[in-house]
Symmetry: C2
Subunit: 336 residues, 2 copies
C-alpha cells in the first residue's frame, strides 16, 4: 500500500526468515565479530583477485542464508541484489551461480535497503513467495575502483571511511518466524554541492535525514516510536551532521537510540578505519547479523535502518560533478 | 499476481500514458527517424563531455514524456532507471534534476524492460499512482568505457554491435489511454561460456530464448498469440541463433513477426553499424517510439519485448570471466 509521498506500507508484513553474513578479517576483529556467520582470515579468501573474493563473500552469504532456513534454494523466486562494482558484477556472478531470476539494482551503499525493500514488496504483493536480497563490498575492490591503486598505500584524511569487507543476504517470505518488514521509503537524491569523494559522511547526511523524516511522516510516527534508528554509513563525521539537521528541523531524538552501522562495525579507538565503516556490505552485515539477532532476542522491537549511498562515479568526480546522495529506509518489527 | 515460475501478471493492466524518445544523429538517419520526439544533429549536444550529453538525452526524454502527458512531473511517485555507465550516473544525475524518489536498477541493455517491469509492478499493486521508467545510452560513452578510447578509431569485427545514442522514458499510470502492460518476466542469467565482448548477440541469444519461453509458458501462450515479438538487442548475429534455438526447442514462430530492436533502428545496408544496434537506449527508443505508435494506430494489438543484457564489465572480461547474459520480457496490449 502506498502511503504518503514515497513509502510502501507492507500490509502482509513479510518475514525475514533467514540471513547470512560473511566478513573479512578487520570486521572479524571488530565489536560485532561474534554476530557473523563466517569470518575470513585474510582478504584474498583463496581467490586470484579481490573481485573474485568479493563475489565469494556474497555466494557464501547467500548459501548461509539458505542453509539456516527451512527452504531449498530453488524455492526462491527472485534474487534482488547489487554492489559497488562497475556493472554490479559481484551480484551478477553470484546470481549466475544461484540460477534464480535476477533483479539487479544499484544504490551504492544504500543497495542493502533498496534490495530489501524491493524483495519485501514482491512478497507483500503476492508477486513472489520467497525472495533473496543480497549485497556485498570488499575494501580492496572499492579502493582500487574508486580511489587509488591499493599498492600505492596512499594516505587518507581522518574523515575518510573504510569500506567494509563483507556480504549480507536475507530471505524474505510471506509467512514464518522472524523480524517483519513493515514499511520502506524510497529516497530522493540530495546533493548540496560537496565534491570531496573522501568526505562521504557529510555528503550523505542530508539524504539520511530527508528519508528518515519522510519515513516517519508517511507512517505518522516519531523517533520515540523506535527502539533504534540506524543510518548506514555516515560514520563519525556524518552522524553528528545528521543529528544537527534533525535538531534544526525540530525533530527530537530523545528516547531513541540513533546510531550508524559504520560506527557499530568497527572499534574506532583501536582499529585504523578513519571515520568508520562504509560500503554496501556494512549496513547489510550489521543489519542481518547484530540488529536482527537483538530483535530475535527481544531486545529491540522496532528498528529503522536508513542505508545511505553516495552515487558518484570516479568519472563524474573527474568531470567536476558534486556527489549525489540517497538513502532508502526500512522499518523492521519483532512481534511478541 | 505471480504466475508460473518468474512472471508477474498485472491484473490492473497499468497504462503507458506517455513516452519520450530522444536520439543522436545516426539514429536520426535510420528507418525510424520519424518516430522519435527529438533528433540531435551531433554527438556532443552542446555539452562538454559525452557523459553529460548522455545525461542530457535522458533528461530531455523524461521532459518530453511529461510534456506529452496530462500530468505534472511532481505527480510522479518514483523514477526507475539505469544505464550502462559505471554507477549508472546518467540516470542518477537525471533523477537529481527531477527530484523524484529514485530506484536505480541495472541490467545492461535489458534495463529498459527491467525498469518498465518494476514501474508497472508499483502501479499495478497500488504502491504508486504514476511511475516513470527511463534508460539511455550513448555510442561514445559506451565505446570509451567498454572498449577502446574512441580516438583510437580501432576497427571492429563485422559481428560487433553499434551502441545506440538515445534515451527513452515512459510514464506508467493506473488509468488512462494507451498501451497496457499485461505481464513481465524477470530473466535468469544464462552463460554458455562465450568470452568475446564484441560478440554480444551470440552471447545474449540463449537468454532471450529462455525468457521468451518462460514468459509464454507462464502465461500459457504461444508465439502465434502475438503480433510482434522483439528482442533487444541481438542484431544480425544473435537473432538467427535465437531462431535456431526456438526451432530446436520445438517452438514455432509461424504467424508471428519475430524481430530485433537492433535491426529495426538502423539500416544495415546503408549505415556503418556492423551487426546492428545495441545499448540500453536501443530497445527503449524503438519500443517507446515506433512500437507504441504502431499499437496506438491499431496496427499491433499484442507485443512482447524481450530486452537482453550482457552483464559483463571490462574488469570481469580482463579477469577471464565469460559473459553472463539476461533478458527481461514485457507484454503490451492495445485494447479496442
Amino acid at each position: 500500500m502506498h502511503v504518503g509521498r514515497q513509502t510502501w506500507l507492507f500490509k502482509n508484513k513479510p518475514v525475514i526468515i533467514s540471513t547470512g553474513t560473511v566478513v573479512g578479517p578487520d570486521e572479524g576483529e571488530g565489536p560485532l565479530a561474534d554476530t557473523f556467520d563466517y569470518v575470513h582470515e585474510d582478504l584474498d579468501m583463496q581467490e586470484k583477485s579481490w573481485e573474485k573474493a568479493e563475489r565469494k563473500l556474497l555466494e557464501q552469504a547467500t548459501q548461509a542464508a539458505v542453509q539456516k532456513s527451512t527452504i531449498q534454494e530453488n524455492q526462491i523466486n527472485y534474487f534482488v541484489g547489487g554492489d559497488l562494482m562497475n556493472q554490479i558484477i559481484s551480484n551478477t556472478f553470484a546470481a549466475r551461480k544461484m540460477g534464480l531470476p535476477y533483479i539487479g539494482v544499484f544504490g551504492a551503499c544504500s543497495t542493502s535497503m533498496e534490495s530489501l525493500a524491493i524483495a519485501s514488496l514482491l512478497v507483500d504483493t503476492g508477486n513472489a513467495e520467497y525472495v533473496m536480497a543480497g549485497t556485498c563490498s570488499h575494501n580492496c575492490t572499492a579502493e582500487k575502483q574508486f580511489r587509488y591503486p591499493t599498492e600505492y598505500g596512499s594516505q587518507k584524511p581522518p574523515y575518510a571511511q573504510f569500506t567494509v569487507t563483507g556480504a549480507g543476504a536475507a530471505i524474505v517470505a510471506a509467512t514464518g518466524d522472524g523480524p517483519r518488514v513493515i514499511a520502506a521509503t524510497i529516497g530522493k537524491i540530495m546533493d548540496f554541492g560537496l565534491t570531496d569523494p573522501f568526505n562521504m559522511g557529510a555528503a550523505m547526511a542530508p539524504a539520511a535525514v530527508d528519508t528518515i523524516q519522510a519515513h516517519l511522516a508517511d507512517l505518522n510516527r516519531t523517533p520515540s516510536d523506535y527502539d533504534l534508528i540506524v543510518t548506514g554509513d555516515l560514520a563519525s563525521v556524518g552522524l553528528p551532521i545528521a543529528r544537527d539537521l534533525f535538531k534544526e528541523n525540530g525533530l527530537s531524538l530523545e528516547g531513541t537510540v540513533f546510531n550508524d552501522c559504520g560506527l557499530m562495525v568497527f572499534d574506532l579507538e583501536t582499529q585504523a578505519v578513519q571515520a568508520g565503516g562504509s560500503g554496501c556490505g556494512c549496513s547489510a552485515v550489521v543489519t542481518y547479523g547484530h540488529i536482527l539477532q537483538r530483535m530475535q532476542k527481544g531486545e529491540l522491537k522496532r528498528v529503522m535502518i536508513a542505508a545511505t549511498g553516495a552515487l558518484l562515479s570516479p568519472l563524474s568526480y573527474q568531470q567536476g560533478e558534486s556527489i549525489p546522495c540517497i538513502a532508502h529506509a526500512v522499518t523492521l518489527e519483532m512481534e511478541g
